[in-house]
């Protein structure tokens, strides 16, 4: 399991891997937003937390496709299935995905917030929201990726299946960020967000492993 974690991290950090690109995509969306909605500080400030969350969500989503599909195509997945319990494999891979996407996006969010005129007191809540919310994104996504393993280049189908599942996470996450930006108290949504992530981390590997087994059959 540790071996798999290390290998996935290495793959992600290599050229063509998900890591740097995920970040860059995040950056890109944030940069494009002002072009799309026009530069007015007021307008930007109001949407900043939301956009930052949406961008993080999409960046995570885009890196998800490779989670299992690549391994399935080149036969690694069946080798993994024979070498270790799939639940463990899913957990390791999802964890690697989180470390290379969510964890970093969380660190990257506040500085980028400046570009979108996010008020300073909003930076910390945004960081917490991203940090505690992104595990849910990775582990829910792992389930979606497992469902779409049978479909080659199933990236779009994946997003179609996963985005509705992301709704609660997004709502709580954006709520925390928004309240934070407005200087309100954000304990309640943050707690809910953390609980949600915890639940996903605990439950999703089993669902995903079941889906993978069906897919290998």
């Amino acid at each position: 399991m540790k071996a798999l974690l290390i290998r996935d991290l290495r793959l992600a950090l290599r050229s063509g891997g998900g890591f740097g690109l995920g970040l860059a995509f995040y950056l890109m969306v944030v940069v494009l937003t002002p072009f799309a909605i026009g530069p007015g500080r007021a307008g930007l400030t109001s949407v900043a937390p939301g956009i930052l969350w949406l961008a993080a969500l999409l960046a995570a989503l885009l890196t998800l496709e490779r989670l299992f599909a690549l391994d399935a195509e080149d036969g690694s997945l069946e080798q993994l299935a024979m070498a270790m319990p799939l639940e463990a494999a899913v957990f390791a891979k999802a964890l690697a995905h989180w470390l290379t996407s969510g964890a970093v996006l969380a660190a990257l969010g506040p500085p980028l917030g400046v570009l979108l005129a996010l008020p300073l007191e909003g930076a910390l809540p945004l960081f917490w929201a991203l940090l505690l919310g992104s595990p849910a994104l990775s582990f829910i996504g792992a389930f979606g990726a497992a469902l779409t393993v049978a479909v080659r280049r199933g990236g779009l189908l994946l997003s179609l299946l996963v985005l509705p599942l992301y709704v609660p996470t997004l709502i709580f996450g954006a709520e925390v960020a928004r309240r934070g930006a407005q200087g309100l108290d954000y304990q309640a949504p943050l707690a809910l967000l953390a609980a949600l992530s915890l639940g996903c981390v605990a439950a999703m590997p089993f669902a995903a492993a079941a889906a993978l087994r069906a897919g290998l059959r």
């Binding site: 290998r7 290495r10 063509g16 891997g17 080149d74 036969g75 069946e78 070498a83 059959r217």
Partner: protein, 196 residues
């Protein structure tokens, strides 16, 4: 045993005794790969069951499990960790990969990929080997190395099932699966069965 609702082979019963190998033959599309996957526990048999425990098998199929961005050494190292092997030396020796140990997966030739995939067998220690067309893309030297690896495994009391179209890498009894070919028209799978 069936695939996509098409029943392929029926009545196959294999027993490989320790220390021996068996080579399977049959037309393209007969169901050899599917059979191996069933034995490896990757496919469910339409009916019948496995006596052995899939945990005991090592499977080398059409898929090479080569990562474009990892070097040969890194890939072998990963599998070694996973199977708890001490070092990747045996694998490198088995198919003298030292020369290309530092080369990335994307830069491997067909035969080099196959060698890399087969070298994994030297790291797993599981009694039953299931090899699907292992000699494809291997040159003479490679086939000799495979033969050596195999006989070493057999002498150590392991056993192996080989699927080949040409001559098997080591001389061993051959079994032609044509005999077990299911008569067309039988279907399998939950949906098909339901149609009685």
């Amino acid at each position: 045993m069936a695939r996509g609702g098409r029943r392929l082979l029926s009545g196959v019963s294999l027993a490989v005794t320790r220390g021996t190998a068996l080579s399977l033959h049959g037309r393209n599309g007969l169901g050899k790969t599917s059979l191996l996957r069933v034995l490896a526990g990757l496919l469910d048999p339409a009916e019948g069951r496995l006596i052995h425990d899939p945990e005991k098998t090592a499977y080398a199929g059409h898929g090479d499990a080569i990562k474009a961005s990892l070097t040969v050494a890194e890939m072998l190292g990963f599998w070694a960790d996973l199977y708890g092997a001490a070092s990747i030396e045996p694998a490198l020796l088995a198919f003298d990969l030292d020369a290309i140990a530092g080369r990335r997966g994307e830069a491997l030739s067909a035969g080099q990929r196959r060698r890399c995939a087969l070298a994994r067998l030297a790291l797993v220690n599981r009694p039953i080997w299931l090899l699907d067309e292992p000699t494809a893309a291997l040159d003479q030297a490679g086939q000799a190395e495979l033969c050596a690896l195999l006989s070493g495994h057999l002498n150590a009391g392991g056993s192996a099932l080989l699927v080949t179209h040409g001559a098997p890498p080591i001389d061993c009894p051959r079994l032609d699966l044509e005999a077990f070919r299911a008569t067309p028209g039988e279907e399998a799978g939950a949906f098909a069965e339901a149609l009685e």
